[in-house]
């Protein structure tokens, strides 16, 4: 607007009868303004400066010519003559009152400078007000003056485009010097020119927008108006661009000097409330970057009213202002984030911002709301959001130094509540974050020592008191001095505590115990929930059973199948919905892992219940008492991996709490024994099985001979039917067991029956559920012989080395390989394993055996290739014979035919002869 006004001014000057050049000169470098259109940037820059400086330099509209001293004025003779000649009308010059004229022209010349300034300011304001009024008036475009009637019947007058009102004028300034004197240059321009001009204008506008932003808030009123005008005239895109620039500027300014620019935070926030999607995102992000940088390393406490009343120094005031602004804007920003987090369009950005903030400044105010938002999204169906939240919580847990552990407690408690509210139906990730918790175990020790110390102190004090009482009753002086000493000592220690950043051990311990209790509460809740959901079905079935009685047996069966089917479909549904999560218990696996990890921290009082739950879960939720039908079906409720996990956790818990008592987990062995059979390579996780083998069979110190034998036998059977990785893990365990249990090496001997050690069960019962009752010692490990012909060289090697174990009795040799390692190695190798390499040795064992008797693994190319050769030979022989036969037949038939023809020929000959003999006769007759 100013530019416009200013341009007008210039134009009027140009047409002014009084010499305009001087006026322009009065404007300073105004000439540049007219000269080169290429330097428009500079010009605009300059005008901006000019406008900024307006406060000081006010253009006096009708200016006097420059003052020239009277001596300098050269009055020419002509002039004199002229005056003399026309005295009648030029005579007034001589008797002019110059003083009054000067006063009149300058008008305010005699006012003091300051007053003058204010006066002009007032004037300016008035003018601008008028301008604003003018703008409100509807201005009809002369080009299409006819109104438009809408469907509603309203009339719309086409107003003059805002652009055309201002932008051209802005261009006029440049247009003026291109073709001087042409007023409305826009109208006359060609299309191309127009376009070029538009572009230019846009650029200018951008620049302007950018620079406008730089203007300090000092002269807000005209500035705001300009800003408003500019805003209006720019298209949405331009505005966005401008806002982007503005954001960038504000951001950099804030980062450079946050204390003085703290106000611009508000503006940034304002920008982020924009309607445009991209701008909002940008605003949020830039605010995030700024906050991340400028948030102080302490928590801001706003001054109380009392404190505010107190007189403080300037610095403190400034600081307070800074802090309160920061805090209020931060709060507003967070509110905005929380609001946006609800909208699906902005959810990711908002969550990312929240996560980053929580990660960066967990010590700062409003942590609770941040935490709540993060925890709320921790099991979000959106992968990105969930990963983000989980990562944030994990980093909260690992970097406890940032917030002193308080956030950990809060987060854990929030997660616990979350699990409670959602009835354990969450994504496993939300519980897995607990795994990155760390508990300082050294905290226990100081407690003990403290307690001891306290006791000692008490004792000492008592003793001292006694002594003192006995001793010091006499001399009070000494006593008072001592009191003084102790007082000062206490003070000093208190001050030291306050000054040192070391946290109070007691406080730390309290937080840790709270965290732990929340964590275990969650874990136990999940276990219990799993139990209940497993048991629920059983209970319903039992209810039906009880109601119906034995007479309704069939009906009960039907009802049971219904419930079972229903439950199955339900679990399938949840499976499909929560992809990857297993069955209806997505949280079970991670919680089992967690219990395994923190098992050393479980209170002994919980142990009994925990083991009870685990036992039931390991049995697939089926009671051992119920009939077969129940157990069969309810076992299906938990996967094999989960049940194996239960076994593993039970062993971990026991091992970690194994102080004095060596507890034998018979029930879990029984479970493992049956689970080995239920394992399916594709469906279940082999790693879990390997871990179970490692923990339960390899790490346990002793086993019953019977049980060990049973497991050896079962593992050997097991390794026959699964992939090389699984069978390798099983064989490693088997070897380990055989090395430990010398008596079990009877299994390697070639006579069944087991002799004296075979125990009361005379015959091997492969289907027994209890390893102790399987009578495995009466069997022979014939599987090893087959396994030594395994297609995988590693498996065949270990199998043959196991079968020779009995010969190397005295060798104490322990393989360090754990089943897990073996499993991992082979399962990794499996991908790159190229069975063709096996054919390199023609004298390999496998060649001896006939290929057909091999255990059929998943694709044995080598075997099949050897077989192929044989087959090909056989086939070729077969076909050769076949061909020979057909050939023979053909030849035979040919022979027959020739024979026939020969015979015929002979007959013919004979006939011929006969005829011939007769014919010649006839001929002769003829």
């Amino acid at each position: 607007m100013f530019a416009h006004w200013y341009g007008m001014k210039i134009r009027t000057f140009n047409h002014c009868p009084i010499d305009g050049d001087d006026r322009v000169e009065g404007d300073g470098d105004g000439r540049v303004y007219f000269f080169s259109p290429k330097l428009q940037r500079l010009v605009h820059h300059y005008t901006r400066f000019y406008r900024m400086g307006k406060k000081q330099k006010i253009v006096l509209p009708p200016d006097l010519p420059p003052e020239i001293s009277e001596d300098e004025i050269e009055v020419s003779d002509e002039d004199l003559q002229f005056v003399n000649e026309n005295r009648e009308y030029a005579g007034f010059v001589s008797n002019l009152d110059t003083q009054s004229i000067t006063r009149h022209v300058t008008r305010v010349a005699d006012v003091k400078e300051d007053a003058l300034e204010s006066l002009y300011e007032k004037r300016l304001r008035k003018k601008s007000l008028e301008k604003a009024k003018e703008e409100n008036v509807l201005e009809v475009d002369p080009v299409d003056a006819l109104p438009v009637k809408t469907l509603d019947g309203k009339l719309y007058y086409r107003t003059v485009a805002k652009k055309s009102e201002n932008a051209p004028k802005e261009g006029e300034a440049s247009g003026d010097n291109e073709d001087d004197g042409v007023d409305k240059s826009v109208v006359k321009m060609t299309k191309a020119e127009k376009r070029a001009k538009l572009k230019k204008m846009k650029k200018e506008a951008k620049k302007q927008g950018k620079e406008v932003a730089e203007v300090e808030g000092g002269q807000q009123i005209p500035q705001a108006e300009v800003l408003a005008e500019v805003k209006k005239e720019l298209t949405a895109e331009e505005a966005n661009e401008r806002k982007k620039y503005r954001l960038a500027e504000l951001g950099t300014a804030l980062l450079m000097d946050p204390e003085s620019n703290i106000k611009s935070l508000k503006e940034m926030l304002q920008i982020s409330k924009d309607g445009d999607h991209a701008i909002v995102i940008l605003g949020l992000k830039s605010l995030l970057a700024v906050f991340k940088d400028i948030i102080p390393g302490y928590r801001i406490r706003l001054p109380t009213e009392k404190e505010q009343e107190m007189i403080v120094s300037k610095d403190v005031k400034k600081m307070r202002y800074y802090e309160s602004t920061l805090l209020s804007v931060y709060k507003a920003y967070l509110q905005r984030l929380m609001a946006l987090e609800q909208q699906p369009l902005f959810q990711r950005v908002a969550v990312r911002c929240i996560c980053t903030l929580l990660d960066a400044v967990p010590h700062f105010n409003f942590r609770d709301s941040l935490l709540a938002a993060v925890i709320k999204n921790i099991s979000s169906p959106d992968d990105v959001i969930r990963k983000l939240c989980c990562a944030t919580v994990k980093s909260l847990f690992t970097n406890e130094g940032k917030h002193g552990g308080e956030a950990t407690v809060e987060a854990v408690q929030l997660i616990a509540d979350h699990v409670k509210v959602y009835d354990c139906q969450l994504h496993p990730d939300s519980i897995e974050v607990f795994m990155s918790l760390s508990f300082d175990e050294d905290l226990r020790r100081p407690e003990i020592s403290n307690a001891d110390g306290r006791v000692k102190n008490k004792k000492n004090k008592k003793r001292k008191n006694l002594e003192e009482q006995s001793q010091l009753q006499g001399n009070e002086k000494k006593r008072s001095r001592q009191e003084l000493m102790s007082k000062t000592r206490e003070e000093v220690s208190a001050e030291f505590k306050a000054a040192s950043f070391a946290q109070d051990v007691m406080e730390q311990r309290r937080m840790q115990s709270e965290t732990l209790s929340a964590v275990f509460q969650t874990y136990f809740r999940i276990l219990k929930h799993t139990m209940q959901s497993v048991a629920a079905r059983y209970v319903t079935v039992m209810d039906i059973y009880n109601k119906e009685g034995r007479t309704g047996w069939i009906r009960y069966h039907r009802a049971y199948t219904w419930t079972w089917l229903g439950a199955n479909s339900r679990s399938e549904g949840s499976l499909s919905s929560s992809a990857g999560a297993s069955g209806g218990h997505p949280l079970l696996a991670p919680s089992l892992n967690g219990i395994g990890k923190f098992s050393h921290l479980i209170d002994l009082d919980f142990m009994g219940d925990l083991m009870n739950y685990l036992r039931k879960l390991a049995g697939g939720g089926s009671n051992s008492n119920n009939s077969d039908g129940f157990s069969d079906n309810s076992v299906k409720h938990l996967t094999v991996s989960e049940r194996l996990g239960c076994c593993i956790v039970a062993f971990k818990v026991m091992r970690n709490n194994l102080d004095a008592l060596n507890v034998d987990l018979q029930d879990f062995f029984v479970q493992l024994y049956s689970l080995i059979l239920e394992y399916r390579p594709g469906r279940d996780q082999g790693g879990v099985l390997a871990e179970a083998l490692k923990i339960m069979l390899c790490d346990d110190r002793q086993h019953d001979m019977q049980r060990a034998a049973a497991f050896i036998k079962r593992l050997a059977t097991f390794s026959l039917c699964f992939g090389s990785a699984e069978s390798m893990a099983a064989l490693v365990t088997l070897k380990h067991l055989l090395q430990k249990n010398v008596k079990c090496r009877n299994l390697l001997e070639n006579d069944a029956g087991g002799g004296s050690v075979s125990g009361p069960i005379a015959k091997y019962q492969p289907y027994a559920s209890d390893p102790n009752l399987s009578g495995a010692l009466a069997s022979v490990l014939w599987e090893l012989n087959l396994l030594s012909k395994h297609y995988h060289p590693t498996v065949s090697t270990i199998a043959s080395s196991i079968s020779t174990l009995s010969d190397t009795h005295n060798q104490v040799f322990h393989s360090n390989l754990s089943p897990q390692q073996a499993f991992m190695e082979l399962s990794l190798e499996q991908e790159s394993f190229n069975p063709k390499g096996d054919l390199r040795k023609p004298t390999h064992k496998r060649k001896r055996g006939s290929g057909s008797s091999m255990p059929a693994g998943n694709g044995h190319p080598d075997i099949s290739s050897t077989e192929e050769e044989v087959m090909r030979k056989k086939l070729s022989e077969h076909f050769l014979i076949l061909r020979d036969i057909t050939e023979n037949e053909r030849l035979k038939s040919e022979l027959d035919r020739t024979m026939m023809s020969l015979k015929l020929y002979e007959q013919y000959k004979k006939q011929r002869k006969n005829q011939g003999s007769s014919k010649p006769k006839k001929m002769r007759n003829c």
């Binding site: 142990m607 009870n612 036992r615 018979q666 009361p760 069960i761 009752l773």
Partner: protein, 208 residues
């Protein structure tokens, strides 16, 4: 020799159930390979002179040939009914219990002898213990080399055992092979002596 009546059966089974739990089924359904029959028979419980025997069916058939007074024993003696009518397991059933035991305790080598002399099992002597024992359950005692040594009643649950001091009693002694060696060695002697005397009197009576 006669089968157990209902009351006796419940008593015997309750006692056995204490030690074996669900494995009681195995005891009852155990196929026997005794005798020349091709298809295996079962084992059954028989009462003879207040003593309960665990006998294979084929043996029962054969034992019917001997009259009740002169039948000293058959199969495995697993316990006896006292004069008061209650059932006690005796040490001879140890083998049966050991194979089917639900709760087990393994003794350290140092405390084996103490147990074999009839003392209770203390926590200090405990080498290993099955998890999930409740107080009052029947427990079979093994040496660390898995040799069954005897049996008893659990005085404390496994959980409580953790917190106990090493001198607390874990298993109350009921029977052990050491005592058996002593008692039955002597008893065997006495028995033979009685029989000898009886025979003597038999021989002597009418003759002299």
């Amino acid at each position: 020799m006669r089968p157990l009546d209902e009351n006796e059966t419940t008593q015997v089974f309750e006692k056995l159930f204490k030690f074996t739990g669900n494995n009681l089924k195995n005891i009852v359904e155990n196929p026997s390979h005794e005798g020349p029959e091709t298809n295996p028979g079962r084992y059954c419980f028989r009462l003879q002179k207040n003593r309960v025997y665990y006998v294979s069916e084929s043996l029962v058939k054969r034992a019917t040939n001997i009259k009740r007074e002169s039948l000293v024993a058959l199969g495995t003696n697993i316990g006896k009914f006292t004069k008061g009518g209650s059932f006690h397991l005796t040490i001879q059933c140890l083998n049966l219990l050991a194979t089917n035991a639900k709760h087990k305790v393994w003794l350290k080598p140092t405390s084996e002898m103490s147990f074999l002399y009839g003392n209770h099992v203390l926590k200090g002597g405990l080498g290993r213990i099955t998890e999930n024992i409740a107080a009052g359950d029947g427990v079979v005692v093994f040496s660390m080399a898995d040799v069954p040594l005897g049996f008893g009643i659990a005085a404390k649950s496994t959980q409580d055992c953790r917190k106990m001091d090493p001198n607390g009693i874990v298993v109350l002694h009921q029977a052990d092979i050491g005592g058996a060696l002593f008692t039955f060695g002597l008893a065997a002697f006495i028995d033979t002596y009685d029989q000898f005397r009886g025979l003597q009197s038999l021989v002597e009576g009418p003759l002299y």
